[in-house]
């Protein structure tokens, strides 16, 4: 044997791809289904936000698409991010089916607005339980982590918020079946949505970005103070929103959140400036555009909470804000990261054993980058189009935008299908 040397002897901990793949495939199908459904009933995407169809779309997007992907991706990425193995593969596996059942029940109850009986309450209960399973799995994995870095701090905050969002969701679900909340249901809904968007999604997106973006672009020499500042500001802002909710006093907490979002943008600029891999492939182009939508969404959020615009305009801005967060920021980032992660995972599980024995495909041959590019541009035409249509309250413009996004989602689905079924 060679002389002893420094460094850690490693242990195997790649999670089984079968489980991760199920999350990814289900989420991708949900995304296409959501766009198809929105296309067929685009007339409902207008007006006041507390409407059965809109609530159904929103939950399909946040639960069935975004959170589904994040759960699957976290199962896969935790070894990379935390440099330790996942606490339980079985929890990830069975959590999926409970979660899927919960999402389908919630979305369909909203769609038909079936609030009589205990259906909505039990759906929210299932979702809460499925979230707790995920939180426990991530939380117990975290226990093995020795030192905190910026990504881990964000993930801890994210799973705390996710638990709170699911708990408020449970209360709201019960309240729809058996009204017990004193005061305004919509007041609680606002808190549920804010902590979901600003707490859960922004924390998880930022935390994972700080790990993956430098990894994909080979960027190492940037400063991290803007990221930590963003972390502080946004968490303080969310705390302020909770205090505002409890005391009913305006504290202008959204100023902190909006500033925090801009600090995040600055951090992303620093990472991108310091990168050594200059070329941006289709995955990274998606990510860069997603980061571009974040300050836009932040400004819209600021406009909703801080300005005195007339209520009718404000209602439109709320819809535009929700749409921008879901389709601009979150969807673009998810698609971009999937282009980076999924082909490699499939390659790893199908071909890495054949290296040196037979010819293996290159990563670029796993899917069509041309279709990916077309899909990218369609998405980036469709999203601003819908935003404009919502502002102008023009049903035709909205419908055109959603049609374009639907076509884009089909192309994305085709690319993912090619990757997953490659022989």
């Amino acid at each position: 044997m060679s002389a002893p040397f420094q460094g850690s002897i490693t242990t195997p901990y790649t999670p089984p791809f079968k489980v991760v793949r199920q999350y990814f495939i289900i989420a991708t199908i949900t995304f296409i289904f959501l766009n198809g459904l929105m296309l067929m009933s685009s007339r409902y995407i207008s007006g006041f936000h507390f409407q059965p169809r809109l609530l159904s779309f929103a939950h399909m997007a946040v639960l069935g698409w975004a959170t589904m992907i994040i759960r699957g991706a976290m199962t896969q990425l935790i070894p990379v991010i935390l440099e330790t193995s996942l606490y339980s593969v079985r929890l990830a596996k069975w959590g999926l089916w409970l979660y899927l059942a919960a999402v389908i029940t919630i979305v369909s109850h909203f769609w038909f607005f079936a609030i009589k009986g205990g259906g909505m309450a039990s759906a929210a209960g299932m979702a809460f339980l499925a979230v707790i399973i995920f939180v426990i799995n991530v939380g117990l994995t975290m226990r093995k982590v020795k030192s905190i870095n910026i990504t881990i701090a964000h993930i801890i905050a994210a799973i705390v918020y996710l638990t709170v969002v699911a708990a408020i969701g449970l209360l709201l679900g019960i309240n729809l079946s058996i009204p017990f909340i004193k005061g305004d249901h919509l007041h609680y809904l606002g808190l549920h949505a804010t902590i979901g968007f600003v707490g859960w999604f922004s924390m998880i997106i930022m935390g994972v970005s700080y790990k993956l973006l430098p990894m994909f672009t080979l960027s190492y020499t940037y400063k991290t103070w803007p990221g930590w500042t963003a972390f502080g500001l946004i968490n303080l802002g969310v705390l302020g929103i909770v205090v505002e909710f409890l005391t009913n006093r305006p504290l202008y907490s959204s100023v902190l959140i909006v500033t925090g979002m801009f600090m995040f943008s600055y951090q992303i600029i620093l990472i991108m400036k310091g990168r050594m891999r200059k070329a941006l492939d289709v995955g990274l182009r998606h990510a860069v555009f997603a980061y571009g939508y974040i300050p836009v969404a932040a400004l819209l959020g600021g406009l909703i909470t801080l300005s005195n615009i007339n209520p009718e305009i404000k209602q439109r801005v709320i819809l535009i804000y929700g749409f921008t967060v879901l389709f601009g920021c979150i969807t673009l980032l998810i698609i971009g990261m999937m282009y980076k992660i999924v082909p490699f995972l499939v390659w790893f599980h199908k071909y890495s054993d054949k290296v040196g024995k037979e010819k293996v495909p290159m990563l670029k041959e796993m899917f069509s980058e041309r279709i990916g590019n077309l899909q990218f541009w369609l998405l980036n035409i469709g999203v601003p189009d819908v935003m404009a249509g919502l502002f102008l309250q023009n049903q035709t413009v909205v419908a055109i935008g959603i049609t374009i996004i639907f076509i884009s989602s089909l192309l994305f689905g085709y690319n993912m299908f090619t990757v997953f079924t490659r022989k």
Partner: protein, 175 residues
């Protein structure tokens, strides 16, 4: 002078002593890149510096430069040259020595390569790794996905972080 640069004529070597820059409290990076910009492809940059400029290796690698490093006293002499394509396998030990039980090291540099190239290069080099051989991989990150693969193929790895964006992975055959 380092072995593989012995045949390079003196006039092809551009000397750059960055000690004055460092003494003045400036980052020599820009000067190095500027000097490099004025050089031809067949020229060699001879950098004289008071520490081993490890992060620079990665930057230079991305620009297509390999390096050889020599330390004398408290001084580092680093030669950057456009050589073979990246990740060329070079064995430390010469031919014919493989029959002896002298431990030897095979080095490959996969920094900056797009996935899955790093993994492909490593797995392709594995057949050359026997009981007396260590495969030393210069990597831009800790190759977590590789470990299971190595385990499966009967190898083990130990990783040492040198700097952000630079890891040394030592792979040996098990048992």
């Amino acid at each position: 002078m380092i072995e593989n640069l012995k045949n390079v004529p003196k006039e092809k070597i551009v000397d750059l002593d960055v000690r004055p820059e460092l003494d003045a409290g400036r980052d020599p990076f820009n000067l190095i890149i500027k000097t490099l910009g004025n050089m031809k492809d067949d020229q060699v940059l001879h950098l004289i510096i008071i520490f081993e400029p490890v992060p620079l290796y990665t930057v230079m690698k991305m620009k297509g430069y390999d390096h050889s490093t020599e330390q004398t006293g408290g001084l580092w002499h680093v030669y950057f040259y456009k050589g073979e394509a990246s990740a060329t396998v070079k064995a430390d030990a010469g031919e014919g020595e493989s029959k002896t039980s002298e431990p030897k090291t095979i080095e490959i540099d996969v920094r900056g390569l797009e996935p899955p190239e790093p993994m492909v290069r490593i797995i392709e080099t594995l057949p050359q790794v026997d009981k007396n051989t260590t495969l030393l991989v210069h990597h831009h990150r800790e190759p977590l996905m590789l470990y299971d693969k190595l385990e499966h193929l009967g190898y083990q790895a130990a990783t040492e972080k040198i700097a952000e964006g630079y890891y040394k992975v030592r792979i040996t055959k098990k048992g």
